[in-house]
């Protein structure tokens, strides 16, 4: 009888733990990159040059990684939904690092000014080659502002 009870407790406990682990995994959200250590720290020009030189090897190196990028904020825009997008890089070039700012960090982005230096941390989602004549761009998502 005692053994049966203990077994039942063990079974229910195990099921509860499995359910909890499964639920946590299922509802997990992407981490705030302000709390994540960068895999790479580079200048905007350096990152663009790496992709323009050999996008296939740069993809292998940077894709999906957390990257901290510094450079001049060439252009900043805010869309109708209130989200900010930053173009960082050399003002004389059409190429840029395009940072889509994490919506939880809009207030930090609002304080930025164009033509000043900035450091952001974001997750690299790839490289848009200049096929439409608009300039190539390295894309970073979920960006947070590190230095204004």
């Amino acid at each position: 009888m005692k053994f049966k009870k203990a077994f039942l407790f063990f079974l229910l406990g195990s099921m509860a733990i499995i359910a909890w682990v499964g639920y946590r995994a299922y509802t997990r959200t992407n981490p705030d990159l302000g709390k994540v250590k960068a895999d790479f720290t580079v200048s905007a020009e350096g990152l663009i040059a790496a992709f323009e030189k050999n996008d296939s090897s740069a993809n292998k190196q940077f894709m999906g990684k957390t990257i901290e990028v510094s450079g001049i904020l060439k252009k900043m825009s805010k869309d109708d939904a209130g989200d900010y997008s930053l173009a960082i890089g050399d003002s004389s070039s059409m190429a840029a690092v395009r940072c889509s700012v994490d919506s939880n960090h809009r207030a930090d982005a609002a304080l930025l000014r164009e033509n000043t230096s900035v450091t952001v941390r974001g997750s690299c989602t790839g490289f848009n080659k200049d096929e439409l004549g608009l300039g190539s761009e390295v894309i970073l998502n979920r960006c947070v502002i590190i230095k204004k």
Binding site: A25, Y26, T27, R28, T29, N30, N59, M63, G64, S77, D79, D80, A81, D83, S85, A87, R98, S100, T125, G126, F127, N128, E131, L132, L134, E137, I139, N141, R142
Partner: protein, 185 residues
């Protein structure tokens, strides 16, 4: 004489606005979101770095989007989307190349909302299909704002949903496209 000068200036401004209105427009911060609805759950993802180019003279319209840039609320969904469904390491880009069928009826120099029909080729997951959809181009202060909502069948683009998840993911996905375009100088 003064009136004549004023008239000349007004004409010059209108001509300059007209010239700008008949050029190319672009954005690199367009938005594409998709939505799947089933009895089990709703799935939504958004990409905020869509490159869009519109030639207002010809009506040619292009979109390019890096598929890995779609953000989901749940990280696990995003991982499954990239690895198992969209296979973004193999097919990193989706694109649309087409034109506005009724472009001649749009006056890009005048504020207002225009209903449009767009035809072209949509490439997703390495598969290119002919598509035709409707939408709007609203001209606001000489800048076009585009909006369109349409559905695609995942099977058309050879995206297979494992049997285990068929109750969670709809076979039809609703796609919403938005972009506020700037004149290309």
């Amino acid at each position: 004489m003064r009136k004549l000068i004023l008239l000349f200036i007004s004409f010059s401004i209108m001509a300059a606005a007209g010239l700008q209105a008949q050029g190319k427009f672009y954005t690199k911060t367009g938005r594409i979101s998709f939505y799947s609805s089933t009895a089990m759950e709703n799935i939504e993802a958004i990409n905020k770095s869509v490159v869009t180019l519109l030639d207002s003279k010809t009506g040619d319209l292009q979109f390019v989007v890096l598929v890995k840039g779609f953000e989901f609320r749940k990280a696990l969904m995003q991982e499954h989307f990239n690895k198992e469904y969209a296979e973004t390491d193999i097919y990193p880009r989706a694109e649309f190349k087409g034109s506005i069928s009724n472009n001649a009826s749009i006056n890009y120099a005048v504020n207002g909302k225009n209903n449009v029909t767009v035809k072209g080729k949509l490439t997703i997951h390495g598969v290119t299909k002919d598509v035709e959809t409707t939408g709007t181009i609203e001209v606001k202060d000489g800048k076009p704002v585009i909006h369109s909502v349409f559905n695609i069948l995942l099977a058309d683009y050879k995206i297979t949903i494992p049997r285990l998840y068929r109750d969670n993911i709809s076979s039809t996905i609703r796609i919403t496209v938005d972009g506020s375009l700037e004149p290309l100088k």
